[in-house]
Symmetry: C2
Subunit: 653 residues, 2 copies
């Protein structure tokens, strides 16, 4: 038998027989390594440990510490769950079961009603299968054999999936005991590798997300290599449930939805409108200092504009249908960029006036399927902290990095400690469809962005296929105080559309050139950002953005006059203050103010009145003593001005 | 012959023969009065001087000093012009020619191209006819006779008009010499009463404002009883032309329109966005002090909401067509009220929490025919200074008067000295169509509004038929610095819709009651208000709302560093400051800054640098001397804070 050379990540070369597998390589190093390995990367492709190698290869063993391992475990746990479900409900038909971030799900066509008890039973069965240490094996079929096999098992959905696969392709499946599922893999080598898991919830989902199809039962679960990690994650989920922005948003009267207005179209209640205003004030101030000017554009626009911009070609499925007005098609705008391009183009520009930075809190409307809508996170109307920066190529790097810096400036203010920039580039397959068909400009612009990020010393990961249709895009993921992940800000480079709009500037030599355009939204949409803030702070907002900042609690009616004078003093200083003048015990008033998460309570009675003072309770700190009203006012004004974070439930903030 | 009693306005009773006319009455008093009379009011109905009276009547003679006289003169001048046109262009077909405020027009179907010279010729001919003192006589026809008559003259449009009149109605026409026109009248008794007139412009207009019909030629003119009044009016028009917000709006880069976005959908350029922001800040501060809270609502809404609110029944022709989303009809909102009702209704309310005052700068979309669009005055997208006040009946008067007071507060700030409240009430004919069909509630609410106005000592006029569909409405007319009239604010009382939305509050006795709702928009829409401000101030805005407040003009490059330090000082104090660092003479920079109407120019050179000073030029004041930069900064900040009006072209302001 022939020998082949295996190069390991540390540069070691091992000469082994052709047909050796990554598990052979692992064993040749140590039994412990084999025990810890769950898959391998051979020439950068993830494969099972038992995949034979027949030519010289680079091999990297994937252990639980590898970045890629969690997804493999999650997906293997989905198979394990499907096997358990089939054991318990033999009539269930399996469909698909992908891994998500920290979770997986599997959709079943199943008549039985599933409840929490069912999940416990399924979990028990999963544990039994895990213990029985079934080998998980890859098998290859021709398309017709695969189809026959799943047909014979009554797995109609799998047959449907196979029918859509190219007829010449070979099809892989994974078998563990008597359970077999279509899958590209890789998987962990045995069920006993899957130990620390938990089923989380069950919900409905349409086959292929299409409302016309049958409603399936979707079971969500999670799985970790380590027991502690699982506990920590479940704890985080528990805390996240308490912080759910839909629940807190209702309790704190921040926003509401109404059936007669429509799904995905939030109404901002007075408390929410305060937060929106504060965010806008912050953005206005920050953008003014960064040399932006503000504009305002309508929400309704002729289709012509979106033909020119390419939205109708590349983005129509995310847009609302047209309205016919005087024989012309009009759309509600899904993005502000074409409008800003029009403003840029409304007068001649010289290199001396560039960069031009146009900012707007524009409300955009995007079509989301009603099943995709989720609280403030996925909505149909969204007011974006939008801006477009028109610059020369030589200005690009500075402008781009200034935008990145603005992100971190905001993150500091909100105590967002963990974040990650993800550079999404185009995919060649998408050219002309999902992306404008300019292969050279794509490469050039992506290189410029990469270079700027590296120059700016900014950590980033790169991923393919999530770019905007007009250029590469940086999504910024942030993690909330309890480690829940959100995608907030975006920063996009547009090399395509300014030319379509005939946008130019006169360069130093008197020639007309096309500017680059940076699209950026560091504060995301009001909807998503405030949704995030609710969960991040668990509703305990820093004073400056708290809807109600101070509540005055009179000890009795006798002090109403004094209370009113204190109220007026705070009100005149711009503080959002309320007074609880109900005929209730002060203890009850404190409890109610706690429920509203009001950061500062002032309890005013005889002593305070005589002394021109207030007894102050601060949230999560309790009674902090008596203060002269003027001193307190001064402190509060400073705290608001400095955007201090205090009285919030997570001390890490 | 029988005698009848004529009662004059001063209470005098005259006994005259039946068949006497108002001109007989005038003559019986004095020849001078007859000479000055142009029409009469008999039992409150306007009639010609030669109308015979056959029963006891109240008679008021209309002279040039009467309120009603100007409209009669204008309309008579329109007839005179039509006669002149027919004399000069016998093929012209006449259509309609109503009186407007201070102007009239007449639309002709006419092949010839009309230019300024044609207007002069027509005017000359009008003067000749005026001098020839033709009697203007009313004639009555049956519908068929009238039709035959105008048919025989080839006046097809008149025939068309007659065809739409109820067949039993008698039709009046007015003859002067060989010219006859359909008309309700009244008219001045002779062409010689029409002396001081001027034709102003010619434009195109569609027959019945319908783009599918033929384009007619519309000639505008004006007419006064007094030569001086005519001159003053023409002067005002001349000044108004210079102040035209469309012209100044473009020159000062406040707003623009774009064909690819659509007519009536303004784009606010950075200078305009500044003004919008300042207005919003003013409204936010004023409304905060007046106990309003702010909300935000989407622009897109299910049709269901507008069925409930009655908009689809009463207001659909002003709305955009529906979009079909997932099988449901959605509309862009024409008003914010239904959304605010939803917010009011989102939680239980008690009389203790009322009034609830919900404010929003909501953008509404209303369909206007493209021919009706006019600059910022008639647009399709409008951002309104909107609010809805929900109150108990006993709170109504105070709330309503507080709104009226807010108007005058704003008018003071903007130097609006002349204004008039016009109470529009329903008309019985409109019940069930234009107006909700609640005759009793209409009367009751109108009475309450009238009572509040009288109680508040507020001057108002009353007019029929312009109410909102849900209740009586107060439109506020204001006059700009040069006496041009605008309709700005509105204040409406809604007695109908809160009940349809099931809105309630718990009263003192624990019962559920329906609140009244006041709709109000004292700052109108951004579009109309800023259009007004441009014309009112001729672009010379008070410092606080000036898009650019200060411009720094370096005498030469040598002082750039000093200029930059002054710039930064002003910028940091929140002042909107620019620096003209072009390589130009300071004189040229001053001229350019004048063109931009920048209120404050700082000229900085050697002397200023050595002294930490600035030489200050103020618009319309010129050089006002040298100031220490810190003192100047302090003055400017105060001027902005106090919203002082200074440096504006009209000293009356």
């Amino acid at each position: 038998m022939e020998n082949i050379q295996i190069r390991l990540p540390d540069g070691t070369i091992k000469v082994v027989q052709s047909g050796s597998t990554p598990s052979d390589i692992a064993l040749s190093i140590s039994e412990g390594l084999l025990r810890n390995s769950i898959a391998a990367k051979v020439n950068d492709v993830l494969v099972d440990l038992e995949t034979p190698m027949t030519s010289d290869s680079n091999v990297e063993l994937i252990t639980s510490r590898s970045e890629e391992s969690h997804e493999i475990l999650l997906h293997s746990t989905a198979h394990l769950m499907a096997q358990a479900v089939k054991d318990l409900y033999p009539d269930a038909k399996i469909t698909i079961g992908p891994a998500l971030k920290n979770q997986f799900y599997y959709d079943f066509d199943l008549e039985e009603i599933l409840n929490e008890e069912s999940l416990i039973r399924i979990e028990e069965r999963m544990k039994e299968i895990s213990k029985s240490d079934l080998k998980i094996e890859r098998q290859i079929f021709s398309r017709s054999d695969a189809s026959d096999l799943f047909q014979s098992m009554g797995e109609d959905y799998k047959v449907d999936i196979i029918a859509r696969i190219d007829s010449n392709e070979h099809i892989s499946a994974y078998r563990q005991g008597d359970f077999i599922d279509l899958c590209r893999g890789p998987h962990v080598p045995s069920t006993k590798k899957i130990k620390h898991f938990k089923l989380l919830s069950v919900s409905g989902a349409y086959w292929r997300s299409d409302e016309k199809n049958k409603m399936l039962k979707r079971i969500y679960g999670t799985s970790f290599f380590d027991k502690k990690e699982l506990s920590a994650y479940l704890e985080m989920l528990e805390e996240a449930k308490k912080r759910d922005h839909r629940k807190l948003g209702k309790e704190l009267e921040i926003f509401t939805f109404d059936d007669e207005i429509g799904p995905g179209l939030p109404l901002w209640l007075p408390n929410g409108a305060v937060m929106v205003d504060e965010l806008e004030n912050l953005a206005k101030e920050t953008e003014r200092n960064a040399g932006y000017v503000r504009v305002r554009t309508p929400h309704l626009t002729k289709g012509e504009l979106y033909e020119k911009s390419g939205h109708l070609e590349h983005y129509q499925k995310d847009m609302y249908p047209a309205m016919d007005i005087d024989g012309t098609k009009y759309y509600v705008k899904p993005m502000n960029c074409p409008h800003h391009h029009k403003i840029y183009g409304s007068k001649p520009r010289s290199y001396r006036n560039l960069p031009v930075r146009l900012a707007e809190y524009g409300t955009c409307y995007r079509y989301e399927k009603s099943g995709q809508l989720f609280g403030l996170m996925r909505v149909r109307s969204m007011q974006m902290n939008d801006a477009h920066i028109y610059c020369t190529p030589s200005q690009f790097k500075d402008e781009f990095l200034a935008v990145c810096k603005m992100y971190t400036y905001y993150f500091d203010i909100f105590g967002i400690e963990k974040f990650q920039m993800r550079l999404s580039v185009h995919s060649e397959e998408g050219l002309g469809e999902k992306y404008v068909n300019e292969p050279e400009l794509w490469k050039q612009t992506e290189a410029a962005v990469r270079e700027a990020l590296i120059f700016g010393n900014i950590d980033f990961v790169e991923s393919k296929g999530e770019a905007a249709f007009y250029g590469p895009k940086i999504d910024v993921q942030v993690w909330s105080a309890i480690g829940k992940e959100f995608t907030l800000a975006t920063n996009q480079v547009d090399f395509a559309i300014p030319a379509r709009f005939g946008l130019t500037y006169t360069n130093e030599r008197g020639e007309e050139e096309t500017p680059l355009c940076i699209h950026r939204a560091p504060l995301s949409t009001h909807e998503r950002f405030i949704g995030f803030l609710i969960e991040h702070f668990a509703g305990d907002f820093p004073l400056w953005i708290s809807p109600i900042q101070v509540i005055i609690l009179p000890v009795s009616e006798k002090y109403f006059e004094y209370c009113t004078s204190v109220y007026q003093k705070l009100f005149d200083a711009g503080i959002r203050v309320e007074m609880d003048d109900r005929n209730e015990k002060v203890g009850a008033k404190i409890r109610d103010a706690e429920l509203k998460k009001i950061p500062v309570m002032l309890i005013l009675g005889e002593k305070e009145q005589n002394d021109g003072s207030a007894s102050v309770r601060r949230r999560h700190e309790g009674d902090i003593g008596m203060y002269k009203v003027d001193d307190l006012l001064n402190d509060l004004v400073q705290e608001i001005k400095n955007k201090t974070r205090r009285n919030i439930s997570n001390p890490a903030l």
